[in-house]
Symmetry: C2
């Protein structure tokens, strides 16, 4: 079988040899950050935006990054050459490091890994069902490894026939555990939550694309906005733009992408996949 | 130098050889649980209570434990014999396992480790200062590895001259990131928060001890309770009963342990240290 490689603290090594000692702060305290982007036909997609966000997450969580942007870029190029996976997701993970007292941040460990991904076109065409879930992610601007709530919530969603949850607290809709959330208002505006959610790179690109064709409002999104909306969708690196057909207990939409969602899907597809 | 051993998935191995592959769900999603108890003069303290809680945490987080209670007890005995550390803390850590999709729970990895600890008698006599912090721990009954908020909050506490934070949300006082919180009411009752906090083993022992000498109320604790209280203290496996001298912005207490706190300290010391 083909060997998959990772970059482990600057060195290219086989993935199965990449291991962390069990006192790393990620393991003992769930403390670490990551970033994630994809490659399409062997080319990185939006890498510069992801590196911006990676350094920002690290700074907000007080994790020192001992590699420059050029070094990270070079590591990624070396990794892609070694693995030779054309359609892939690449994760840059930075842990809290080997903590002497089991609580204080130490010298972080950096692991860059790459795996093949396939696009779920079926889901992008048919859409997904979301279950409302009472939660708001702390440190929402940070892409932290803390997904305890997301993993537990997914179990609840599946048990109720939904594909995932949407976090709603105090009548405000923020985001999905691994995706941003958008609405098309009755007037045909694009609505999405502002500062207090993950600053998704796909989200940012969608906002830029949408501004060319419709009005965009980046602001608090309420249950009332949802109930009045014409269309809804989520976005992420792997899901691109995926329509939301139902928010359980609140709103059913027409099956598949609405007209504006479909238009935005085409624009994003052209940008990401050069189609 | 003396080699320290750990139990890694049932095998006794040197700690420096205990490593996890970087796709463990603890590392990629901060998903895992643990439990922690101490040994005094080479004897485990409240081990049965800790094993109860360990299995309960695992169940609440859907982590299967493939070892029986007798097997865990035996691992701990083997570890203690190998390490021969009389005064120690022993941690039983159960991770989310090597997840194939980076999100689903897999076969957990179990690591039992032991390290020397020394009692901080100075702090138990002098007390600590706490900074109020607006937060309530989700999955509060689970001893999960998720301490992102605690680590970030400690930084804020230190910057304001406090030793740690106390979580207060909607006027209700729950717990410290790594300790339970208690008050002595104006009438001399012991007050501590109920179900929605970590079910600390030291907390449980204190409640039992206190019931022999004073009235105990396990219920929601408010800011008003704090402002009226005569004494305050925190408890944990390592901190035993440590007085709180100040909750910044809310209440200053007399320096050192108040009379009831001191009485409880003596009772707990007799139970734990046989003094």
């Amino acid at each position: 079988m083909h060997t998959t490689y990772v970059i482990f603290n600057g060195a290219l090594i086989p993935e199965k040899e990449a291991q962390l000692a069990t006192n790393d702060l990620a393991i003992v305290r769930g403390y670490g950050i990551f970033d994630y982007f994809k490659t399409v036909n062997g080319v990185t997609v939006f890498l510069e935006d992801n590196l911006d966000r990676f350094y920002r997450s690290a700074e907000l969580m007080d994790l020192p990054v001992r590699y420059s942007r050029d070094e990270l870029t070079n590591f990624i190029a070396v990794l892609m050459q070694a693995n030779n996976i054309l359609e892939s997701g690449i994760k840059i993970l930075l842990t809290g490091g080997y903590s002497s007292d089991g609580y204080s941040i130490a010298e972080p460990n950096l692991i860059i890994s790459q795996h093949a991904i396939t696009r779920n076109i079926n889901q992008e065409q048919q859409g997904i069902r979301l279950l409302p879930f009472d939660y708001h992610r702390p440190f929402s601007q940070v892409k932290s490894i803390d997904y305890v709530m997301g993993i537990q919530a997914l179990k609840v969603a599946k048990s109720q026939g939904a594909d995932d949850v949407i976090y709603i607290q105090n009548e405000l809709i923020s985001e999905c555990p691994r995706a941003n959330f958008f609405l098309i208002s009755p007037e045909g505006k694009l609505l999405t939550a502002g500062d207090d959610v993950l600053q998704g790179i796909t989200r940012k690109k969608i906002i830029d694309l949408a501004r060319e064709i419709i009005e965009v409002e980046v602001r608090d999104i309420s249950i009332v906005d949802l109930q009045c909306a014409q269309e809804a969708f989520i976005s992420s690196t792997t899901k691109n733009i995926t329509p939301v057909t139902t928010v359980l207990g609140h709103r059913d939409f027409e099956p598949g992408p609405g007209p504006i969602t479909k238009h935005l899907q085409k624009l994003l597809e052209r940008l990401v996949y050069q189609l």
